[in-house]
């Protein structure tokens, strides 16, 4: 090769050309695919909300099976009766509430700013269930999910997900053996919103006691488990004004 690749001018030129090429390839790709990616994310949210209501394709021994993406939108509009946002203790109607970025709103709530917290009212076995989004942190990064409760504050189902928890340990919060334990647990202790704690010492691995406000923890995932407990507590705190009104109805 005749080019002298050691010259400073060449080095700078090479760097500039490489950055321009790589930058345009990535920008082109990102804008070309963004619609598809957004659609996938929307479907996923709908699947998660429905899953937390117990609407899924699970069989007793299966893993987590969502409603398939091609029918999820129809199923979502069929089963979710109303979507609301909770702003400053007041409930407003908002048909696009499921598109709200819960991360931002929960952060606003924690810092005492005005937050728009979404609520989904669905119907299951003739009874109204209320699906609340959750957002918190695990060991490495964010964890989030949805839980559905009935008017007696008994959990009807949950869905958890995470960004980067350890595979085989914290990442197992999105497996059925963990999530299924939450169904039927009560969030109340007396009249306070105690939530459900992920406990290492509850001596109830089969989760027979649904009144103890505890589920069995995953060995090796203490911090992720604590994150789940804290996330549930935080959600209850944020949604307390709304939960009070449905309890008193």
């Amino acid at each position: 090769m005749a080019i002298n690749t050691d010259k400073n001018g060449y080095t700078v030129l090479f760097a500039v050309i490489m950055v321009v090429i790589v930058g345009s390839v990535l920008a082109f790709l990102a804008s070309g695919l963004s619609d598809r990616i957004k659609e996938n994310e929307r479907f996923e949210k709908q699947q998660n909300i429905l899953y937390a209501m117990g609407i899924n394709e699970n069989t007793p021994d299966s893993g987590v099976n969502f409603i398939p993406t091609d029918v999820v939108e129809a199923k979502f509009t069929e089963r979710i009766k109303e979507q609301y946002v909770l702003v400053d203790g007041n409930v407003e109607k908002d048909d696009q509430a499921f598109l709200i970025d819960v991360k931002k709103q929960m952060a606003a709530f924690k810092s005492g700013d005005e937050a728009r917290l979404p609520i989904f009212v669905g119907e299951k076995d003739g009874e109204e269930v209320y699906v609340l989004p959750m957002y918190g942190k695990g060991l490495w990064d964010a964890i989030w999910g949805f839980m559905s409760v009935n008017k007696d504050m008994v959990i009807q189902g949950v869905y958890f997900d995470h960004k980067a928890e350890t595979a085989g340990l914290g990442a197992n919060i999105k497996l059925r053996f963990f999530m299924d334990d939450f169904s039927g647990e009560t969030l109340l202790k007396g009249s306070s919103y105690a939530g459900v704690t992920v406990s290492k010492t509850n001596n109830d691995p089969l989760n027979d006691d649904k009144q103890d406000n505890e589920v069995d923890a995953i060995a090796g995932a203490t911090i992720t488990g604590n994150g789940v407990s804290a996330m549930i507590k935080e959600t209850l705190k944020a949604y307390k004004p709304y939960l009070e009104t449905i309890r008193n109805n």
Partner: protein, 215 residues
Amino acid sequence: MALLSKKDANLILDPLADNNPITIQVLGICSALAITAELQASFVMAVSVIFVMGVGNVVISLLRNVIPSKIRIIAQLIVVATLVIVVDQVLKAFAYELSKTLSVFVGLIITNCIIMGRFEAFALGNGVWRSFLDGIGNALGYGVILIMVGFFRELLGSGTLFGYQVLGDPIAKTGLYAFGYENNGFMIIPPAALIVVGIIIWVQRSRNKALIEEA
């Protein structure tokens, strides 16, 4: 191996055994520790690295005469990072489920020192076809160890393989668990991976004495 000359075939076969990137060159240990608690994660990581290494080595080999030596490491990093982002975006658009399983590993691929190591040691000085074979070979060698470690850690730590309970149900006490067997929780934490990798290194070197370095 009629498709490849003997020299080319060795590019693929050597890293699988006597020049394995993990057990002999001791590269890529970090991801071998981090993600081998489950067989599925090991498998997915192995496949991703095979793709990135194969394509990355080809790109670097094509550019080997024009990359200025002063900024070659940065140029290599850009190639890996770009490939990884492309893979990530395409998966998110067309295979969303898979992209969710992969999410953690995609970032880890960029930091995998085997990739940079092969760019630097091989692709910068060799032709496209040989670089491609070298990339695939080293990624396979990496993947084989990952899957071996994942196999033992998941089997002994959780009693499952690919998520299926192969030793019985630990809570209902069926299968092996009925005889008092317990899962070894130590196997799912990262230090266990170091021990499993150590045992593999030990077995390998006791079978082939030529691999033992002089003290």
